[in-house]
Structures are given as C-alpha cells and as structure tokens.
Amino acid sequence: MKTGIVVFPGTNRERDMAIALKAVTGHAPKILWHRDTELPDLDLVVLPGGFSYGDYLRCGAMAAHSPIMRAIRAFAEKGGHILGVCNGFQILTETGLLPGALLRNAGLRFLSQDCHLRVENAETPFTRRWKKGDVFRTPLAHGDGNYVADAETLKTLQSENRVAFRYVAPNGTVDAADRDSNPNGSLDAIAGILSANSRICGMMPHPEDLVDPLMGGEDGKPLFDSLVEALVR
C-alpha cells in the first residue's frame, strides 16, 4: 500500500501517523508538502493531526486553501482514499470533502484523554477488520472536536450509514448528552464520518497513537490493518 502524509505548517502528528502506517505496511509513507501541486501515485492520502496555521481563525480553515488541497480534491474525485484525523478531519470539513463542521468542545477546554468508540459501519475500507458494534479505546487530543451539521445533513449521514464511529461508554452505550462518554459534546455523539462513496473518512480521535503495546495497547491498529486489506492491490 502506497501512502502519503500531508504536512502543513503547524502539523504535528505526522510522525505518529508515519509510525502507525509503517508498522502495518512495512514501508515508510511519503511525506507531502502543503505547497506541492501534484500527488505521487498513492493508494491513500492521510491528513494528520496538529495545528495547521496555528488553528488560528478556525481549525483547518487556512490549510483548506493550501495548494496541495486542489490535488487532493482531484484525487478524491477520481475515487482516491483519504483519511483525515483530528486536524485532518477539520480540514476535510473546511474543504467540503466531508459535510458538517467542528466547533469548540462543549466544555470549552482542550481535552487529552482516552475515549471509547463504537464501530457503526464495518463495511468500509477503514473499518472492515472490526465488526459493527465493536467498541475500542483510543486517545483523543483536541480543542475543537464538537461535530455539528444541520438536520438534513445529519439525516443523510444516518440514512446512508455514513457515521463511521460514535463516542460511547466502555460498555458500548451511546448518550450524546453525557460528557463522560461524549466528551466534546458532538451531535449524535459522532466521532467519525464517511463520504458518500465511503472512501473518505474523517475522525477526531487518534487511533495512530494506540498501535503499540508499549504505549498502552493496539486498539487503534485494526483501522490501519483494514486499509491494508482493502487497498493492497
């Protein structure tokens, strides 16, 4: 699987992502610079976490206008696979590649903690190693992860099975109003969503930071294993 990770000024989780990708693919991903105007031949583009442009104005707003985003849009139009994590998810919503927006966390504080996610759709390139309803632990680290969308968008996401992950209690129950299980207050406890063709996935938490028992577990690894399984040609 040929992968590339985009680095914007202020991106800071590209190394974490590279470690995770290398662990499952055996190859170091290509690092792509925000000023690049063309993509090399890739199976997967990853927009990693961080604070592109300091997250000033709105998270992801300025990165969405980087030269490379034009190439990434074209890649998406040709059916390319894109994973956006944290700041990457914010950038995907800012470019309109995914619907909705990410607002300040409901508690107005940056949150860095473990959360639990439930797999809502296990028939995607990002989730096929899980079963629908599986619950896994993963770290999150963000100040603006409160997913919102208008009623119509929400309905579309639900009816088209495009919610990939929801925040849940460790036992798998969803309660969007509960700050313990849905820490940033996301609408319908949404933690990750998919594009209409299921080839673009954006999520706030960081599965790439939990792929090694030494760092506390491998709970995030199935996501990367799924991608390898789906994309290795």
């Binding site: 989780r13 470690i19 604070f51 300091g54 504080r109 770290p139 030494l214 760092m215």
Partner: protein
C-alpha cells in the same frame, strides 16, 4: 517609550534597577556617561535574572559533573549521555511574575522560552513538564490563575506538538500574590550534533531568525528581578504574547538548518532579547560584535535602539553562520515562512557596537561587562528552629482520614489539569501522567526510554531548608527509580523571596547545601537550572511576604531497554511489600495540616545512605522482572500511596496491621523518606529474603486482590469510592 528623552544619571540608573555602586562601576568601565541604550544594556545584563549576582557564589558549590555529563551549567541547557550516541538535553525555567500578571500568556511564553533553550542546542523537544504553585484555593484570584496558567501551558505545548507528560501542583496561601510557573523541556539530539553558543570567526555574519521585533516586554528581565507591589499591575504592558505556531515553524527550520554544516553558534533570544543573546554569544567566544539595527525585522514603525535591544518579543533566535552558507540558511527559513536577516557580524574589537539610523547607539567593551558584573555575598541570618509539632491525636479514624487526604488540594487527582495537556503527541509516550512515579517517553527508533519527573515539597523547605533541598532531590531520584530507570541528572528551578533579606538568603543557602548533599550522595549531578528571586508580595499593612522556599527539581533517568519499565497501578494479584524504614514522622506532614490544621514540626530526615541503598535495591529487582508495580511513599504516607496504586487500576488489596509500637496514624500517614511500595507476584518471600541479604528494611504490607482497599479493621473502601473522593477537588474548584 518617551523615556528616551530622559537624561542618563544615577537617578535613571536606579529606575533601571542599578544601585549607586553598580552605576559607578558602569561609569568606570565606560570612562564616560553611558548612552540611554548603553544604560539599558548594563541594567538588563546586571539584573538578578541575567547575572545571578546573589546566587552565583552558592551555585558554584553544586556538583555538576559525572562521566555521563556532556555539558553542565553554562550552556542553554544541560546535556547528558543516554547511550547509542544520543544525548538528552534539558532544563527548567520560571515564568512566575508574568504568570501572575497575565496567567495565560505568562505561562504560554514560559513554555515557549524553555523549548527554545533546548532546541537551540540541536535537540528535538520530546517532552514538557510543569511545576506549578498556586495560592490557597479559597483565595478568589487563585481560580483565575489556575485557569489561565493551565490553558496557557496547554495552549502552547499542544500547538507546538510536544507532549506534556508530567509535573506537580501545590496550593498554599504563601503563593496568593505570587504563583510559581516552572516549565521544563527535555529534548534528544545526536551527541555529534550539539550546538553551542560561543561565537567564533571574525567577520562571520550574525543572523536573526524567527518573528519580528515589537515593543514586547521591555525590561522583563529587570521586572522579574524585583519584588511585586501594587505597581506591578501598572507594569502590565511588559507582558509578551506568544505565537506557538511560529515556534513550531522555528523548531522545524532550526532542526533543518542544523542538519547542514552552516551554523557556527546559535542562541535563543530569551530574557533581555537581543542584548543578552548577542552579548553572551560574543562574550563566550571572546570576540566583538557589530549590530545594525536597521536590518532587524520590525513589527512596528519608529522603534528606538533601546527598544529593539531590550524587546522580549518571542520566537526569535540569533545565529552566527558560515558566510558561504548564508543563502542555504535563508532558503530554509523562507521555506518555513520565517523572517531571516543578516543584522551584523563578528569583529575583533572585543566590543558590542550597536548602530541605528547612522548613529552609534552603544559601544560597550564585553569583557568588563561580563567580568565586572556585580556578585554579592549577601548576609545570612540564622533560621529559627522548627516549631514543635504539638500534641498529636487522630480525631476521625483511618477511613475518614484517608478519604479526606486523597481529596485535599495537594493530593487530589490532577487529571483535570493533565487532561488539558496533549500527552501522547509524538507517539512515544509510554507512561502518561498518573501512570507511574515518573513519566516515561521512548526515544523514537531506539530501545531507550527517558524517565522524567519534577519534585519539591515547599513546606519541608520552609521548616528546614537543608532537609527540604535534599528531600526534593531524593524524591526526584526515587520517582525515577520507582519506574526502573537509572537516575542520571538534574535541572533545578530555585524559587525564593528577596535575597537582600538575611533570612531569605539563609533559606536559599540551606536549600542549596541540601541539594548539593543529595546530588553528591546519589550521583545525580545538576546540569542546568534557573534562579528566581524576589518572589514576594506586599501585604495590606505594607510588609512583604515571601513565598515558601521552592527549589523545584527536575530529574531525568534513562532505560537502555524501555520495555523494562513499571507503572504504579496495582496488579490483579500478588503481594505488596513496603521497602524502607518507617519511623512515623508526622512533622510537616499533609496529615498534620489537613486533619489537625497545623503546619508545625521539622521536615522528615533524609538519610541519603538509606535512600541510595533502598533505591538501588528496588531498581535491581525491577530490572530482574519480578516487580509488577512500584510506587514511592511521599506526601500523605503509606496509606495514601496504597490508595493511589488501587486507584491506578481499580485492583484492591487487604492491608496488614501496622508496625507494632507505633501509633496507627504515625505509621499510615507519617512521611519518612526512602520508602517504596513494591508489588510482586506470589507471596513475596523471595523479595523479602533478597532485601534482608542486601540490608534493606522491608516488610509485608498487603495481600493484593479484589476491587477494594481493605483496612486492618476490615473496613472496605472500594476503588470507585476512592476515585470519586480523589477526583472531586479540581472540578469543584474550577468548573462550578
């Protein structure tokens, strides 16, 4: 600054913080009346903050060498050998005064400053820690300061992408008007790629990189060298605003440049900005330096030479570069969209010459500026003996006492704080806050791990500075040992009151002696540090109160094989053993303060021989793989430490009866040093007999199992109940 017009004389010198004798010395060095800008340069270079004039004599007594020390104090940060050709580079620094005036920006720029001290030497920062002291929780402003400081530390560290993995927090009335914000950064570099600050090569260009210069924080260095009074609020505009986004770019750009061979010398612009960086770089290299301020990137029009030389605008560095590499360097900084300007060159004059708009604004000989900097042997008064402890009795029983203690400000869960700090970015965090006695970070692509901690018990230092100083070092050493790592070296941040008061000076000297004793006994040298004096506030009646003496110790340890680390969470089964001798010392204990409302008695004894023996034994047992978890016994004593282990995983244990012949509260809550709780598999007999052979006191403490902490009385405290009691303090204080 309209003060530009002011005439330079002894009065102005005093306003700038120079005493009459110091001003006379300036006149003698210059052989004329200095210019306004020159006076500014002298005043910041000779401020307490930059010159260490009250502390230098004593700092020299500290042990700073060991075979693994590559660079001790004197560089931007300390450097130690961690094996495999790599070095850890680390330092701690205070931002106390700015954090009182503007908590968010004060704390944020504190983090920014210490990061620069570390990456300026060629290290990629891999971890941040923060040691915080706040006023009493009841004091209304405390809440606001906690809020701003925590947001600021997180806001900066999270954005630059360096995980914040540990720290400490205390609350005490003595910090009401003067909180302490001490930030520590640890970085990793290749030993053959370490960059120093001594300038060299006459004619070599001097390059300015980073953000533009504005009128930020002019005279910050002198401000942090003066006591606080109500005028402090009028000095407000001296606070700087940080830009962590630019810092992140600066880290990447500097590391990229450092991978080439372009750099001769490099230093960050910290306190006193362009002045201290240029003076120190040229001074250390024994060369002169010419600066052309017209070339300095400026944020605002009309800045004077004085303003530019003293500005403390953040996120800036000064580099002496090989002339033929200037364009390579420029291209790197342009790629990262940072300012890059050649603003001068090195000369053989031995002077710093500052030109602006065709005028020479300053021309100062560097040697006397450094060598004739004042150094004081401040008088010391004998300290009063610690107050007797007074009558001791347990008013409420073990169970209630424990619940109260683990919910008290100094022992309650810090999760509310560390949950606002990104502790996992980088993907190398092996033990996050709360997971072990020291945070553990793996060095990417190696088997090496670093164990990091900050420690100080100010109430001990107040009662007995020498014991308190030794205790702070011992606790840092112990926290590292309890993870299985080998303690290597220390950075310190010595926070005290006004050194012109003999009793404060005595606290300072006592603490240094204690620190020195412990560092020598434990082979744990000081490789970097920072002194913050004049931490005092004016009371309504005009008197001034000092903070508790707070020599914060930042410790670093290393694992050759980080998979051999242990955390502090109770395992599912096995045996809990108490290592070290229990004498039941309750003086200055948290129990005494929280339960009886008294801050009396002497600090506990620090037996450094026992400390070393017990610690070396525990570390060896961890290395052998038989230890499942380990936690040092410190604040709150044995029972609190056991409760912390239980809360760590939710697994419980059933406690043995206390040592015979000792009051239960003294056994359970006494704060004797050199002790550990060690969880081993099985019945622990092997461990106990090994301890006996090694001459290490050890006794059975509990049988591990269940999900509750069972007291000798049979009373059960479920892990859930403990966790609720432990977790309430911060949310109750901050989120109401």
């Amino acid at each position: 600054m309209s003060s530009k017009q002011k005439a330079v004389n002894a009065d102005l010198a005093r306003e700038f913080g120079l005493s009459a004798e110091e001003y006379d010395r300036v006149l003698a060095i210059m052989g004329r009346t200095p210019s306004f800008t020159e006076l500014g340069v002298f005043s910041v270079m000779w401020s307490e903050h930059c010159s260490y004039k009250s502390s230098r004599k004593w700092l020299r007594t500290l042990p700073t060498t060991a075979p693994w020390v590559i660079h001790g104090p004197g560089e931007n940060a300390g450097v130690v050998d961690i094996g495999q050709g790599l070095a850890a580079i680390f330092k701690m620094e205070s931002h106390n005064h700015p954090s009182f005036i503007e908590p968010y920006q004060g704390a944020a720029t504190g983090v920014g400053g210490i990061l620069r001290d570390v990456f300026t030497m060629g290290a990629r920062p891999v971890a941040n820690l923060n040691a915080l002291r706040f006023g009493a929780p009841e004091t209304p402003r405390t809440r606001q300061i906690v809020d701003g400081v925590v947001r600021g530390v997180g806001g900066y560290g999270n954005c630059v992408g360096v995980p914040t993995v540990g720290g400490e927090v205390n609350f005490h009335l003595a910090y009401d008007g003067n909180p302490l914000v001490n930030a520590m950064t640890v970085g990793v570099a290749r030993q053959d790629k370490i960059f120093l600050s001594a300038a060299a090569g006459i004619g070599n260009p001097v390059v300015y990189v980073g953000s533009k210069t504005g009128r930020d924080g002019i005279h910050g260095a002198t401000m942090s060298s003066a006591e606080f009074d109500e005028n402090a609020l009028a000095k407000r505009p001296t606070v700087q605003v940080g830009d962590p986004f630019v810092e992140k770019l600066l880290i990447e750009a500097c590391l990229e440049l450092m991978a080439t061979d372009a750099i001769v010398a490099i230093q960050d612009m910290g306190a006193a900005g362009l002045t201290s960086s240029s003076v120190e770089m040229a001074g250390k290299g024994g060369v002169g330096i010419d600066l052309d301020l017209d070339a300095v990137p400026q944020r605002e029009p009309g800045m004077t030479a004085y303003e530019m030389m003293l500005s403390e605008s953040q996120e800036r560095m000064l580099i002496v570069i090989k002339p033929e590499r200037t364009e390579v360097a420029r291209a790197i900084f342009e790629k990262w969209e940072l300012d890059f300007a050649v603003i001068g060159h090195l000369t053989e004059t031995g002077n710093i010459v500052v030109r602006h708009k065709g005028q020479i604004e300053a021309d100062i000989p560097l040697d006397p500026l450094a060598e004739q900097a004042p150094i004081y042997d401040r008088p010391i008064a004998p300290l009063p003996a610690p107050e007797p402890v007074g009558d001791i009795h347990d008013p409420i029983g073990l169970e209630q006492t424990l619940v109260r203690l683990i919910g008290s400000p100094d022992l309650a869960s810090r999760a509310w704080i560390w949950n606002q700090y990104d502790s996992t970015v980088g993907g190398q965090t092996v033990r996050r806050p709360g997971g072990a006695d020291a945070a553990i970070v793996k060095v990417e692509d190696t088997s090496i791990g670093l164990a990091l901690t900050t420690d100080c018990t100010p109430r001990y230092c107040h009662a007995n500075p020498r014991k308190g100083g030794a205790q702070a070092v011992a606790e840092a050493w112990r926290n590292i040992t309890a993870t299985g790592a080998k303690p290597l070296a220390v950075t310190d941040n010595l926070n005290f009151g006004n050194p012109e008061k003999p009793e404060i000076m005595a606290q300072f000297v006592g603490a240094i002696e204690g620190i020195g004793d412990a560092c020598r006994a434990l082979d744990f040298p000081i490789v970097s540090g920072n002194v913050s004096l004049y931490n005092e506030t004016r009371n309504p009646d005009g008197t001034k109160s000092a903070i508790l003496p707070t020599p914060a110790i930042g410790g670093l340890g290393v694992f050759d094989d980080v998979t051999k680390n242990v955390g502090l969470g109770m395992p599912e089964n096995g045996t809990l053993i108490l290592v070290g001798e229990t004498k039941g010392h309750l003086g200055q204990s948290i129990w005494l303060r929280e339960i009886l409302g008294r801050e009396t008695g002497d600090a506990p004894d620090v037996d450094l021989v026992a400390e070393r023996r017990n610690g070396d034994f525990v570390r060896a047992r961890i290395a052998s793989g038989e230890v499942k978890a380990c936690h040092d016994v410190s604040d709150g004593g044995i029972l609190v430490a056991v409760a912390e282990m239980v809360m760590g995983t939710g697994h419980g244990c059933t406690l043995d009866t206390p040592q015979s012949g000792m009051r239960p509260e003294a056994f359970w809550f006494g704060e004797d040093q050199a002790r550990y709780l060690v969880a081993v598999e099985g019945d622990g007999k092997d461990f106990l007999s090994a301890a006996e052979k090694a001459g290490v006191p050890a006794r059975f403490a509990a049988e591990i199992g269940g999900d509750a902490l069972v007291l000798p009385s049979g009373a059960r405290l479920s892990a859930a109940r403990l966790t609720t009691a432990h977790g309430a303090f911060f949310p109750d204080l901050m989120d109401r």
